[in-house]
Amino acid sequence: MTELSSPGRALPGILLGLSLTLAALAPPPAGAQEGADGASAAPDSTPGMMAEPRGGRSPAWRMPPMPAGMPMLPPLKGMTPDLGSFLPSADDPESLPDARYREVRRLSDGDTLSLEAMKVRRTIEGRTFTMYGFNGQYPGPLVEAPEDGTIVVEFTNELDMPSTVHWHGVRLDNRFDGVPDVTQEPVAPGESFTYHVHLPDPGIYWYHPHVRSDIQQDLGLYGNLNVRPPEQGYYNPVNREEVLILDDILLDGKGLFPYGRERALNALMGRFGNVFLVNGEPGYELTVDRGEVVRFFLTNVSATRTFNLHLGGARMKVVGADIGKFEREEWTKSLVIAPAQRYIVEARFPDAGTYAFTNRVQAIDHFAGEFYRQVDTLGTVSVRDRAAEEDHSEEFETLRSNEDVSDGIAPYREHFDDPVDHRLELTVRQDGLPQAMVAVMQMDTLFRPPVEWNDVMPMMNYLSTGRNVTWILREPETGRENMEIDWTFRQGEVSKIQIHNARRSLHPMQHPIHLHGQRFLVLSRDGERNGNLVWKDTVLIPVGSTVTLLLDPSNPGDWLLHCHISEHLEAGMKTVFTVEPSPGDSMRH
């Protein structure tokens, strides 16, 4: 960590038309605390939103990990967030079960799964922490279930705070969607709830809590749900399948970096981790034979990180995304996957040797005003020098057109040119951030990176919380924001939604926007029609971009729409929309 010396004297005047006054060096406003242990903030009581963990530890706030060579704004030195801190704890940590690698649960229609959210001892890079796990596993059990089946999940909450389970991307019965105070009461510590999860669509899904996901999800409560289609040949023939969950976690010399107790920490950019995890472990390793074709089911469960995945030069074919397959397969050299999104890709490893599984991004050094290349290694694929038992190279080299997908979309095409029904604009508001921090952010406004690939300002991000930052969904026509927005759809009647991520705000950022319980098509980006469609539930909207979605409101009920950056959600970026039941049969199903 590199720090500049503390100021202790007045700032030298005006730069770029911005006058930085002595106020920037004055004691912090009510928003931020200086040198506190973070335990003095009053609890919040917004219904259904900010479940405050009970128990746990409240360690003194400490400086966030900073990339080597990154300086810190001197006026921010010593400042701490305006929240209490939280880390999970146990009276006797030795008594907690050691977390074990996930198990695969193959369920049939009607089968029951017991799922318990619990504390575990988890070892990462040789260091042991108190974390969370479903059934004591990391990730949670990999559930395989048949398309059109229904599984019963008996959930028990053994945490110190309320929880739920949300079945991300699944168009299931509203009462089992797992959103506290919208579809169910939060499940109190020690209590249970039974979910009936109907699985209408094949594809890769995931489950996670919807209470303080900045804490609960980050500490390990997530798992995949792989919905298998009945027909052979739905996917291409491959030598093997890998179901991978991508994540990161923030550690420093003292262990897990604390979370915000009453509200989320890192509200501006979300919590970037500094240790990369694949299926809960650093250093993913896969060994295959020469020429093997591997189908990867990828899920990004990180709080905020968008990955640009690269497989050491192995050719990658994009097969599917959130809810099933694309109309057409496409080659790609790398794959961008935002929080909560899923992709299905196939890769062939033609030569013996090692292929690095990396995240390759162009990070930004704001102090130099430059981009720089950053490569994070998530793991390796080792290819033995022996031929694969079965040769699927011919099928791999063929880009398939999925007529079943196009045929399924065909009835919706007549609505592609319909006028837009609803608009949203994405922006942010601050109230109480340290003035020096605001001043710097106001200065650097002429360029807004479309995607923040890494935490370029850890100290400023650390001081931004759910108290002093509000992320906003705004309906331009009415001026309504977040939970004030009142959208009603009718089951089976498609609707066009346009979402613009405004550049002009204090700190714009990309947003992976997720709609619960429904599916949509991304018809266009920035006015350019999308020529290769796939059903989605989460769309990444870079800064300055506009997407137009065709929503298929197929499930009645009250549903959440929100940014899936955990800290943005906890900082308000959500609304509830209603799908009213069709008076007759659904026109689409």
Binding site: P7, E330, F371, T427, A436, F447, V522, E528
Partner: protein, 183 residues
């Protein structure tokens, strides 16, 4: 910005020695500046639009460039190293034609000019389109004897910087100067 009746710019220009003649193109709009009541952009389509700045070689020349993300199955177009892939369209709306070079050619180059790309000749509609895979770059229009030159040889008439070129160097910010940065 928008001419109504003048002939189009671009393609092969007539040789008009001597007097400057400003030509304009018709039929395409100027920079989009729609905004909401609080100043936030409310855009149907939201490319980055940057005005081309005329140089001393072509006072009065005007135009702009639009940047939008390239197409990608995963929504955000980047290279395998993470550089953004932009589709770029250069629009030339007027240019004085007082020199012998016959063809307007648009270029993209890295800021230190170690790499460059011939985007092509400006068409009769005043537009040239291409793709750029750099995070920070220059775009400029030169007058050339041929559209196929590998490196510009004629005068630079207009130029612009990608929006990322406006990224500040915070090292020059006042609150850092106490650390020996600057005078």
């Amino acid at each position: 910005m928008n001419g109504a009746s003048n002939p189009p710019v671009g393609g092969t220009l007539a040789l008009l020695g001597g007097a400057a003649l400003v030509l304009s193109t018709a039929g395409f709009g100027g920079p989009n500046s729609a905004s909401g009541p609080d100043g936030a952009a409310v855009c149907e389509a939201a490319p980055h639009r940057v005005d081309l700045e005329s140089t001393g070689n072509a006072p009065g020349a005007s135009g702009w460039m639009d940047l939008r993300f390239g197409n990608a199955p995963h929504g955000v177009a980047v290279t395998e190293d993470g550089s953004y892939r932009y589709e770029i369209s250069v629009h030339v709306t007027s240019v004085p034609r007082n020199r012998g070079e016959s063809t307007l050619v648009a270029w993209a180059a890295t800021p230190n000019l170690d790499r460059h790309l011939n985007l092509g000749a400006v068409g009769d509609d005043g537009v040239v389109e291409g793709e750029v895979s750099w995070n920070k770059f220059l775009v400029f229009v030169t007058a050339e004897s041929s559209a196929s030159v590998e490196t510009w040889q004629g005068p630079v008439l207009m130029k612009a910087t990608s929006p990322s070129g406006n990224m500040h160097t915070m090292a020059g910010h006042g609150i850092f100067q106490q650390h020996g940065i600057g005078c």
